[in-house]
Amino acid sequence: MKKVIVENLKYRYPAMKQLALDEISFEVEEGEKIGVIGRNSSGKSTLCQALVGLTPHFYKGTYGGRVIVDGLEIKHATVSEAALKVGIVFQNPFTQVTGAKLTVYEEVAFGLENMGLSRAEMIEKVDRALHLLNIYPFRNQNPFSLSGGQMQRMAIAGIIAMRPSIIVLDEPTSQLDPQGTEEVFSAMDELSAEGMTVVIVEHKMEKVAQYCDKILVMKDGKRAAFDTPAKVFSRDDLSELGVCAPVYTNICKALGKKEGAYYPVTLAGAARVLGARR
């Protein structure tokens, strides 16, 4: 079942000449994980905002085409209707924190409080989200006492707790240590196995290649590619697209070692193709 349908999406910010999104089309199946990559200012964050309805409802401007999320056409839905279907984690966790809550626990419960759930249901969902993002030990701390990385995980937990059918994450691991990054991606893996559809903007290509089913490459507001990680990273025009392949792929490319028609994109794939030394 198609959970996200984007059709000829065009968008221009007020007072700007250039389109921020230029004829973008793609479809995402239920439970798929899509990585969105590309240079800064290529339209990745704007696309995230369009998927959840912040564009065109909050950011005005010129809008064309359609975004349908879990059967709901975003242009005709209110932001609160859309919020029940699709959640967004912003690039900067400071943007996400309400500032109105005194503990991490309450902060993570904030979205749920606005959904009219029973107390028992809320506790179960908040606990699960806190454990999934490994911030349960900090649940009684003030949100602003957290380190950058902990705050980023709290922001993700707040959205996960609401159990949207689609989650959009804009560079959710930018401030995380390697273990925290791995935890976020494996949490997304677990949620997608349960049917949640994941769209994730990310600069860490090794993780995108390992975890995502497909990759959308954005360039100057346009869709430059939409395909499996192996196909995308095997292209020889990546530098023109402003992206870089995973370290593993670069090494295999330099040595001319393919696995079938494409270069490996993961550690295991590269080790297989290059062969063990002993």
Partner: protein
């Protein structure tokens, strides 16, 4: 250039003579010397890395222990005086930016430490050129993308021409091109004889740019050594919840005998074999 002896720090008030075993310390008994080698401080979120550099910069005061920067005891000086010797690029650019234009923002630091107007302007223009921001002089810093805000913060600190420059997570939200820009700047500063320190989670970036690595874990210094030495200590890295660079992970899983830290190392090693 920096000397740290038995440094303890807690965010809770602490007026006892000895460390209190019941108290939560963000930093516990840290001793180290910083020299001219480009140095990366790595460790988990919450390990005390940012706290540590804030103390060096005089923004936080240690509970006990001695810190000297270019021979000056930080407890006996002011953050304003320290600013002439040590520049810090904050983790979150929104904490650092406050002027109305890119130019004013970059000029603030140099003027504030007493650089003359002409010299400041020259230094600022050079830094903004390197960061490819010189076409945005009149832009409001808050209208820049997060990645450009970070580059502006780096340029502003570079322009102050301090002997020590500390970058707190310089590659945050940088794309491939931005990451290469940061890499170039770090090498440039090193070649100019500056002491560059960074806090960073990108291990492949560390392997490519930094000679010395200090590992923090739960407020303690766990390891301190050359990049090869630190990244080959699998047991300690695991203890600090860190992993080796991707290139080295591949080299290890292929059983390459050599410690290959970067893509280029692995490729060379494979070609020679």
């Amino acid at each position: 250039m920096i000397s740290v002896q038995n440094l303890w720090f807690s965010y809770e008030p602490d007026d006892r003579k000895r460390p209190n075993p019941d108290k939560k310390y963000a930093l516990r008994d840290i001793s180290l010397e910083i020299d001219k080698r480009p140095t990366a401080i790595i460790g988990q979120n919450g390990a005390g890395k940012t706290t540590f550099v804030r103390i060096l910069k005089g923004l936080l005061t240690a509970n006990r222990g001695a810190v000297t920067v270019m021979g000056e005891d930080v407890s006996r000086t002011t953050a304003a005086r320290l600013a002439r010797n040590i520049g810090l690029v904050f983790q979150n650019p929104n904490d650092q930016l406050f002027k109305k234009t890119v130019m004013d923002e970059a000029m603030f630091g140099p003027l504030n430490i007493g650089m003359g107007e002409g010299a400041a302007r020259k230094s600022v223009m050079r830094a903004l050129d390197i960061m490819e921001l010189s076409d945005k002089l009149d832009t409001n810093p808050h209208d820049l993308a997060l990645s450009d805000k970070k580059l502006l913060c780096i340029a502003s600190v570079m322009a102050m021409d301090t002997d020590i420059i500390i970058l707190d997570e310089p590659t945050i939200s940088q794309d491939y091109v931005g990451r290469e820009k940061v890499k170039r700047v770090i090498r440039l500063l090193r070649d100019e004889g500056k002491s560059v320190m960074t806090i960073i989670h990108d291990m492949d970036f560390v392997a490519e740019c930094f000679e010395r690595i200090i590992v923090f874990n739960e407020g303690e210094k766990l390891l301190d050594g050359g990049a090869k030495e630190v990244f080959s200590d699998a047991e300690m890295l695991k203890k600090a919840h860190l992993e080796p660079p991707y290139a080295l992970q591949l080299a290890i899983s292929m059983g390459l005998g050599e410690v290959c830290l970067t893509e280029a190392d692995v490729i060379r090693c494979m070609m020679e074999a």
